[in-house]
Symmetry: C2
Subunit: 434 residues, 2 copies
């Protein structure tokens, strides 16, 4: 790039109206020095060819993305992916690794999720010349942008009110066997778990609206047993129906499930698109719960793709009340730092948007409650075990009871082992997990 | 895993009814030997906990995914991502690298795109224990599955008929400046390019429905000039409107654009979800064109994510008539093999689905036609240059003319240089690209 063209994509932060820009943070590895590499990114992701032939004009001042800050990490790095570096067809002996802050004028595309994704994760970003590693680390949205998004309808406090659970972690359970079990015995498992103390019995992310277990039948059976469990326990309960489906079925499926007694619905948002969730939010009468299917290739590598917290923010903006995301379990390939960062993206102030309940998933059990409470520094979270409830040797009722006991131990300031001496369900749970 | 449990996720191909299964091919790297690692994958991606406590039952025979073949690549490999291998929290000195064929009973989720993605790219796949690299290489769909999908409405031959271009590559051009130019001068650029010989003038993938250039106004102006260009050239022309938007706006935007004279619409399908495209296909009256924004993190690494051809197949099933995908340009980070493989996914027999026009994108110009024709072995493709048309020193008319001349040279069996001696536009094009 010519020197003047490089400069056209750099600006001083204080010269830019913060209400007109998104602030994007990327990690980059480039074959050229950071000032040029980041200018190239800005050019590709915004104005590309910025004037007509033989016309004196320049669309960069108003429509160009602009670098405001570069934080050099390593001026003499080796590429995280030699494969990607080699596809660029240039000799190199090192790359530059750095973080860059970019102001992006969102007037280029408006407050639309698909068009935002095109701009910040599209061809311009991941196919820019001389850039051999890209990770979108964060987006800061100005109030002017956020105000077009409804965000959570219920949020953490609304969900707590529905459940009449003011101050402890919310106990979700994924009914197992997840796939294959007909609706009748499936519903019985949810019922047993509610009796044992579970708050929310949910469908697995793999269980949708299928011939052998329709949303209609499942929600009818579980809706009825949910009311029964509420009467018998004197507690509020929720059946969470997975209505993930073709996008033109989501609203109809929501209506069927809710009419039949589902008091929340789950949509695997990355598979339907976040925009479909935003559409459903305008119509929904119950809390919306996310699942992270289809997200891993973006989020798992620290030098590539998109950091999970970006998706967490987008999902909160789209209208989810509960965020299920990869949590602390070697299987989940997630660090403690990411688990905390995602919880913060759910709970921190974000315009006028309500707070979204963080649920860091992953083979949880009674013993997960204390460690998550400590890690997150708050009881505003949920856990979502499967086997710990539905594979418990005393059945789902015993499994759910073990979760409640796990939290009672935390409140009593006792070790699990000490508390388990007088609680058989917890004793079995400890045995299952050691 | 216990030996019996490993065996439950392996089967002989000939014992399985091919009409009931998708055939999935994955590349895997595992810490445990391939037979166990692939069984683990099958368990996580299908039946997980396959029986209730104290109930004699096993859902694996009917609902379990089943390994039918393992092709060992390296029994003593180092992980492609040491980072991911380390997250598993186990000591290892090597990993197993192999391809595996898995039969997946699609009755588990039905013929729905979001639920398919959950099953084959969801938590079960990318968060399975002991697996530190996953790439979904291919899906073979049985006829019974494909028959629920409409596929392309026009296909290659329908598009050729609309354009009255029976046998040469289709010439698309991305109007530039892509962002910032108001509709009136923007439309003039399209008009000039049509006069020069362009078939399809299109919006950039970044240009949506925005305050400073609405789909309504753009399509009205370009629709009128398209008709004018047709009259003046005696050729058929298409304005391709990018209607990428929130999913609940797609149908309305299609209707506005088409009423105003757009004769095709583009949707950046990964940003809206493929399911939204399938929804639009049921309603659309013009060809649907894809763009690959937001797809890179899945497709760019050879050992991770999803191979592009899987998305190509899904997009054909969803109903795209034209597939724009990363082509041959160092910027695009794509190999020749991938470019060919994607073209085949567009054109090869696939149930009763029509053929989809492959358009391998990437800084193309007149000289790209001959090399792509040779590479793909057919004229059933398109090119989609931007600068080569709209940055041409003789303007868009000259730029478009240079493309036609590039193809005339191929047909005449002449080198570009020889043909350029009598064609000024091509001469300039060569100078721009050397």
């Amino acid at each position: 790039m010519l020197r003047a063209d490089i400069e056209a994509f750099h600006a001083k932060r204080e010269t830019l109206d913060p209400q007109k820009y998104l602030i994007l943070t990327y990690y980059l590895e480039t074959l050229v020095e950071p000032r040029e590499g980041s200018a190239h990114l800005c050019q590709e992701m915004s104005t590309a060819q910025w004037s007509r032939v033989d016309v004196e004009e320049d669309f960069r001042p108003e429509f160009g993305a602009k670098v405001v800050d570069i934080e050099l990490i390593d001026a003499n790095a080796q590429p995280s992916s030699p494969f990607l570096a080699d596809t660029m067809g240039k000799a190199y002996d090192h790359v530059y690794a750095f973080n860059v802050s970019i102001y992006y004028p969102y007037n280029n595309f408006g407050t639309k999720i698909p068009n935002l994704l095109t701009a910040v994760c599209g061809e311009g970003v991941f196919h820019a010349p001389d850039i051999c590693a890209v990770r979108l680390l964060d987006i800061d949205f100005p109030e002017s942008f956020l105000q077009d998004f409804q965000g959570p309808q219920f949020g953490v406090s609304g969900l707590r009110k529905l459940l009449a659970v003011p101050d402890r972690p919310i106990l979700f359970g994924v009914i197992k066997p997840n796939v294959g079990l007909p609706p009748k015995p499936f519903a019985q498992l949810g019922y047993q778990a509610w009796l044992g103390g579970l708050d929310i019995a949910k469908d697995d992310e793999q269980l949708g609206d299928v011939a052998w277990s329709s949303v209609e039948e499942r929600s009818r059976l579980l809706g009825a047993l949910c009311r029964k469990a509420e009467t018998e326990t004197g507690e509020k309960k929720i059946y969470l129906a997975n209505i993930t489906d073709e996008v033109d079925q989501l609203i109809a499926s929501h209506d069927i499930a809710v009419k039949n007694g589902a008091k929340a619905v789950m949509i695997n948002g990355m598979t339907t698109g976040f925009s479909a969730v935003r559409m459903l939010r305008k119509h929904a009468s119950v809390p919306l719960v996310s699942h992270f299917d289809f997200m891993a290739p973006y989020i798992q590598l620290p030098w590539f793709g998109v950091r999970d917290k970006v998706f967490s923010k987008l999902q909160r903006m789209a209208g989810y009340d509960v965020l299920i995301y990869p949590g602390l379990d070697s299987r989940l390939k997630t660090t403690k730092e990411e688990a905390i960062t995602n919880a913060r993206a759910c709970l921190d102030d974000m315009g006028d948007l309500k707070r979204m309940l963080p649920v860091p998933a992953g083979s949880q059990w009674a013993g997960s409650l204390g460690s998550l409470y400590e890690l997150l520094g708050s009881a505003d979270f949920g856990i979502v075990p499967g086997r710990a409830v539905f594979g418990h040797p005393m059945g789902p009722k015993g499994g759910a009871a073990s979760l409640r006991q796990g939290w009672e131990a935390v409140r009593a300031g006792k070790t699990l082992e000490a508390y388990a001496r007088e609680h058989e369900e917890l004793r079995h749970a400890i045995k299952m997990h050691t």
